[in-house]
Amino acid sequence: MPLTDLVELAARVGHGQCVAIPSDVGGVSMAATRALVRQGVRDLHLIGVPTAGLQADILIGAGCVRLIEASAVSLGEWGLAPRFTEAIRSGAIQIRDATCPAVHAGLVAGEKGVPFMAMRGLIGSDLLRSRPDWKVIDNPCADMADPIVLIPAIRPEVALIHVPLADREGNIWVGMRRELLVMAHAARTTLVTAERVSETSLLDDPCLAPAVIPSLYVTAVALAPRGAAPIGLYGEYGADEAVLADYARVARSRDGFDRWIEAWLAANACDDRRAVLAPIDG
């Protein structure tokens, strides 16, 4: 039975682990982010799939991150990610710059159990030079010389996601966000928070099943209504623009960030235990 609560879910993330997180547009578990900050996890290696946003900025600001790998870290319409920007400038964290399709390619290699995936582009760039782990080979299938880049497989220890719907067997429905399927396939464990829990199996519905990550891959699920807020969740609710604009402004200073995070944790002080206690309606 993978249904659990946020504290137990977050406790499965250990110091120094490699954690894959979605971009801000689809499926970020801000509820689990609070639990990780409270737990005081350290030295995480975050992978933004393929970008990262508020979640990464908060984890960086809270001192949970050693290394981030992403094709971009930003608050999107709300501007630069302030704690990320400061941490890179001060050298507090390391970065592995990427490009969106390279992150996807690495995860596809990971889910297939092969050592790398080839991709076009990148040749001649400083981006490629900054990644000694990305290798250029001569395409062995071509008649003429054809340099091409190999992206090593990405196998995160954890995929951490938020979804609209789970069931009691631990199947989860991701809707249009099919990159979450690839993340779960490539990761060794998948930790999920969900808006709702269905009392019937999601695999029984042929309309839902093609967008389901089966429980085969799912390590634990915790109920977390509005668990992506203040970011939006596709098909469910939009971003809380006032909160994001406020964060983008105040988190530019260390003190401002500390005050913001304290208030945010306090405002959600009771969210940890309600998962298994709350009555569930499908």
């Binding site: 399709p101 582009g121 001649g124 760039s125 981006l127």
Partner: protein, 266 residues
């Protein structure tokens, strides 16, 4: 026109650069390019436009990777990329200013440029801020190169550079940007003073000034550069009406500005 060109003017200018494409892709956080693509589509209803993040204009069903797969296969003809620094060789920097390891300024990152700039045949580079800070002699970090040596798979690359002052075309044979039109009220001198790289200009076929007959000495005039066309009344109506409406769920604040900007131009 005022110092800051309106969103409607730039969207119209960009829509002209998209004309004739069968497929146009717009990335995240790109309100002006999104308006441009929808305007281009008004003129050419057969054009397929995909806008990342838009519920209505994002037909991809295979997750975040599909746009890149679509482009890598050669199916995407036009895409718009922004950059923090752009140089005359069309190299793009979306990463940092100064030393990469200890940057003076750190920006979000390269996004999809590491692939899209190489495989999309018509990339429009867009930077509203036309300054020597943005348009530099040499970028500090190359997210994606403007051109590639022979033997490197490179079906795509830059075609245009649109800024708040002018339009450059990319000359593939020389691998350099060439100034091709000035926005209304902008002079060549102003563009040179605000551009960190050297460039050549496309000169409009000189029409003999009528006064030349009377005063032959006036033939020694500076070469003339075309002026970027302004939107017609019908196009402003589209931008302020249905296009602003279509973008209001994705870019609500921008839709309000677009209606106002189109109104000002009318």
């Amino acid at each position: 026109m005022a110092e800051a060109l309106s969103s409607a003017f730039l969207a119209h200018a960009m829509s002209g650069l998209m004309a004739g494409s069968n497929t146009v892709g717009i990335g995240a956080n790109s309100p002006i390019p999104a308006a441009a693509a929808l305007l281009a589509q008004r003129h050419d209803p057969g054009m397929r436009v995909t806008i990342l993040g838009s519920p209505r204009h994002n037909p991809y069903t295979n997750g975040g990777a599909e746009l890149f797969d679509f482009a890598a296969e050669g199916r995407l003809e036009t895409f718009v990329l922004g950059a923090l620094q752009i140089d005359g060789d069309a190299n793009l920097n979306l990463v940092s200013v100064g030393d990469y390891q200890a940057p003076k300024v750190r920006y979000p990152g390269s996004f999809g440029s590491g692939l899209l700039y190489y495989v999309v045949p018509r990339v429009i580079v867009f930077r509203e801020d036309h300054s020597a800070r943005a348009l530099v002699e040499r970028v500090d970090f190359i997210s994606a190169t403007g051109s590639s040596p022979p033997g490197v798979h490179r079906p795509g690359g830059p075609a245009w550079l649109l800024t708040g002052k002018a339009i450059f075309r990319f000359d593939r044979s020389r691998a350099r940007f060439v100034l091709t039109s000035l926005h209304p009220g902008v002079s060549e001198e102003e563009v040179r003073a605000n551009t960190g790289f050297v460039f050549e200009c496309d000169v409009v076929d000189a029409v003999e000034p009528a006064s030349a007959v009377l005063a032959p000495s006036s033939r020694v005039e500076a070469p003339r550069i075309a002026v970027t066309p302004s939107p017609a009344r019908r196009e402003l109506d589209w931008l302020a009406g249905p296009i602003a409406d279509e973008l209001s769920d994705l870019y609500p604040a921008f839709a309000v500005r677009l209606r106002a900007a189109a109104g000002d131009l009318r």
